[in-house]
Symmetry: D2
Subunit: 351 residues, 4 copies
């Protein structure tokens, strides 16, 4: 079975493992106070062109989203998110568990528009008794989104502008940030992400690390006492240097972007193969996740050799599925998949 079901099926890039082995016997202080973490923070600040940024390392995405959001909102506030946002669906209500409502807005492609944020806030403040409603307190977006789509620089600038006008911190979930930054047509740099958001994180788990997410806090008001939040929510890794060593490796010379490039290239090849065969794509993703709409017999056939994720039914005859590539995806596997796609004998026409 060749796995395309997610982007965390393997361990870590070999350079990361090598560094873990090399540094294994070093004695360091715990909880992220070691030299490796310091160096990694410096590399990340440099990559973000944000010398004043605070950088913290956490283990996983749900933990990171929960910690950041709980650190920003007041108890009666909620976080605005796309209805398809990870925090709205796939985190077992972790945000609600911290006492906050996720204020969802509709979205076809996983993105939310500046205008939607403005309308939601206007509706709140124009209500006769706004204190009976959850007050919007921040905005959460994913770049790239859970559907593989990306915000353009113009879109992000507009969203950022509206957020700042409304006094809403903008938090970018970058679980797959690298895959978005290097995607075809992307006009956003890491520095842009830092400039246009208040806080974001750079995902390591899905891009070459064993685990780890680097939270970058740009907005001065959000920096205070963040380590208390991490510790209280169980995210302060005792051997914090494991995170430092990994991000040091990822950001010392561009490995993070190099791996992202590879994954996106592989995904685009798969995308092309599906399109050439006449299949439609559910979302116009230029990143490492591809969502072809497949007749169910095709789906069944491919699933004998490949694992991928079921996404949703389209009528009785078709389904959307997700193929993920990653830094670890092997060229020969993609090549084989493409050949198998080409070789499909189609009984049903695509949607």
């Amino acid at each position: 079975m060749v796995r395309f079901e997610n982007d965390y099926a393997e361990g870590a890039h070999e350079r990361i493992l090598k560094r873990l082995v090399e540094t294994n016997e070093e004695q360091t202080p715990g909880y992220g106070m070691d030299e490796h973490c310091e160096t990694a923070r410096a590399y990340i600040r440099r990559a973000c062109e944000s010398e004043e940024a605070d950088v913290h390392f956490l283990v996983g995405g749900t933990q990171t989203n929960t910690t950041v959001i709980a650190s920003i909102l007041r108890p009666y506030q909620g976080v605005i998110a796309a209805i398809s946002g990870h925090i709205a669906i796939h985190e077992t209500g972790a945000i609600e568990d911290t006492g906050h409502k996720v204020l969802t807005v509709p979205s076809e492609d996983g993105k939310i528009q500046a205008e939607q944020v403005k309308e939601l806030c206007d509706a709140h403040w124009n209500d006769g008794g706004p204190e009976h409603l959850v007050q919007p307190g921040m905005v959460y977006i994913s770049q790239p989104t859970e559907n593989g789509t990306t915000y353009s620089k113009a879109e992000l600038e507009e969203l950022s502008k509206v957020c700042r006008e409304l006094g809403l911190p903008l938090f970018i979930d970058g679980a797959r940030l690298g895959y978005g930054l290097v995607s075809e047509g992307s006009d956003l740099s890491l520095a842009d992400i830092a400039r246009l958001s208040d806080v974001f994180y750079i995902g390591g788990t899905k891009i070459g690390a064993l685990f780890g997410e680097a939270v970058v806090i740009i907005n001065e008001d959000l920096k205070k006492d963040f380590r208390y939040f991490i510790k209280q929510r169980g995210g302060l890794l005792a051997k914090g240097r494991l995170l430092g060593i990994q991000f040091e490796t990822l950001f010392e010379d561009g490995l993070y972007f190099e791996m992202s490039h590879h994954a996106v290239e592989m995904a685009m090849n798969i995308r092309e193969a599906f399109i050439e065969k006449g299949f439609s794509l559910r979302y116009d993703s230029k990143t490492n996740q591809q969502f072809p709409i497949l007749p169910n017999d095709v789906l069944e056939k491919l699933s004998k050799t490949y694992s991928f994720s079921f996404w949703e039914h389209i009528g009785d005859s078709h389904s959307v599925v997700r193929f993920c590539t990653s830094w670890a995806t092997k060229k020969e596997n993609v090549k084989q998949l493409i050949e198998d796609i080409k070789a499909l004998e189609m009984e049903y026409a695509s949607v």
Copy 2:
């Protein structure tokens, strides 16, 4: 200004005030352990034909909803509710504040259907990794709904059946329960409500009491330690006898239903007047809330004499508004309103 804006604009029925005055110098134990509470509990059990029910008295609706729901759900569970449910909108995220997601289902009229509950649960349990999703843990409905509509006996039986099959406690928010029970065409008795739900409350605040909601727990599993929940959430009134005295008065000889009848009669008169004048109604309510769709100039004209609530815009020219009656609504005020409706000179046609 004659107020139709809500059903809590006045104090309490005069008999309740009289009893509070008569009993004022009695010395009683606190926190609902007094004789008046005991008597009121007995009256309510009798009215519900549920001799084994536990009855607790709380002060207000949000408090009651929060306390009941927090007492039922496990931390990773959510409560299924209509998207228009009071807990989903008008309680400042009080449910989320207790750590739980409100799992909303679409609704045009404020009701939810048994089938919707079943589908939501099927979707959860058929997911590849249900533990990444909030688990449905109970169902919340309002009778009558926030839109004035009511469940029929058949609908409630079907909903109750599905909930029991799925192991989901069914909680009925009865903030306006009396208005529903006496509404035209209603085939549900208080005993039916008790029989078909696991827990519900009988609203006093909106039906003749100064304040107070009587929680009736039918399901044996939900009874344990409920007083701890009330106390922890700040709902255990020191002078608990105030609640006992009020519900004693409401249920000793049918005053609760008598007052409900009056309010519904007044509302139906207003409804008729709007219909006769050619206005449409947003919801088919037979209870104390009426939702006419009015041209904006009519709205403006009426608002010079009457207060009522804005509900929503319909295009640029019309609005839905809410007229509420209550146990305290004066016949002469309703009569005057009806005459003013009849006398309207219409510039716009109704929608």
Copy 3:
């Protein structure tokens, strides 16, 4: 049975009931937006000599403590309180339920000293890894305390000074504030309370109202969005005017203090009787709660005619009990109690 077991055994002062009856048919907006609440707020600001104060009305003490504390603390902060503080013991963990630890300091008499606050904070900030500990975020005291004792002006000034130096808001639980303000030897006025605290509440439930606590927010930083907190925590009474009417009556011409005087006078008479008979007192209370140490046979004898609260055992032969007076305590009952104390034939010597 004559009840001295608590200070909430009766209803309300007759003037309050009279006003509730007189205003019963008025139609007012809900949720505290009515004229009675406005007037009551003005009276309270005047009494506090704090024209800029925000005044909010809630129903009960646990609700008030929880709402105020949850509105002040950040998630990783705790509230400093005496080990005997109401929030530390008798509120079913309501503060913890909002996510916050109660950081208790030892106390013999119910009070905490400025020095204790300073030491606790020093210990926190001097710890090698303070983010592993709950950060002190505010201070809670009761005036009078749960033991009937009171802070002097000098003590409160010192505590207030330390709190301000440390950036810790000082919150005074005034469930029995009136009884403290009028107590023998008290040198604190309501204006002093306002001047020296950041937020406090004036208890109505235990001093003549049916229910109700008036939160007075002095510190500008704590005012923002407080109504959201009240609503979210279920404390925004629909018929808010009930609170307004009661506090209007209590503060229009000094009724609050007049009733407090009566209760304290009654308590001091009881205190004298116990002392004269040779009994010791557990706490040196000059307020409406008295804590005599009684031989168990005396306790048993008195309990045939009077109800009072058991407080704690002292060895095998004696117990501390609590006698409470209130605005409603009848002179003839106190006279009878005093005579019964005088008439006791003592088998055991007092401790």
Copy 4:
């Protein structure tokens, strides 16, 4: 600088790193559903002689304590713990953050006695209004304790018996479980731990793993839906196999115990050296943490070469400090430390 300040200063045992490298390119399902986790679970069940146990892997200790405790308690319940318990002090109020009070009992050595649990519960249930108090809902102990002391089999059996009589689940924090199990004089096996508790965890972070704690749930009632809790609290590691691989290595052939033995041997050597030199020990620890009471000049001298943790002041002249050994402690470092202790010229006598 030679570090004895904690037991998480290095990476992982070389065999663990080797396995991570070997398995790095394997493609596995995420979230703990892989073969390595399955195998590790089987090894642990075997080591616990509990074939029916559920085994889950989490990343760190605070996360594990919070997740387990939140999964057991009802909202109005608290967890009984020693006043020195890790959850009571060093987790930034993580337990309170989940809404629960830590009900602390006094302890001189870090252990709690069966009798203390019984007394606390009796006091609760004999209170006139127990619903005003936090209800005891479970018991938390650490084995070994934060002070390095250990429960004997007799003590644990008595505690377990009382907990079962009272219906309180017993949870054992085993962050350093190995060090306790192999300590001199220990009469408890892993199977005993499983037999006498309801749920416990086997710490990996401090005993040879990069990170990881294995939760073992014995009590059938506590097993339900535990994965929801892990996910909701951010503890479901995407690359769950990292935990599986580590625990597989630790438990396939006794490596866990072998490493524990080494650490304890090293600690006992240090202990002997201090005792021989005439120093007292604050706690009678036979495990990997040693707490000598040192004159401050000795402390200062040793701190030039060795890092260790300050614990507490004893008067002006002495301090308690903590020396930790671990699986990674080098014999030559211990030897050097012992020589340096022997060579101390003492100005002060020990306490």
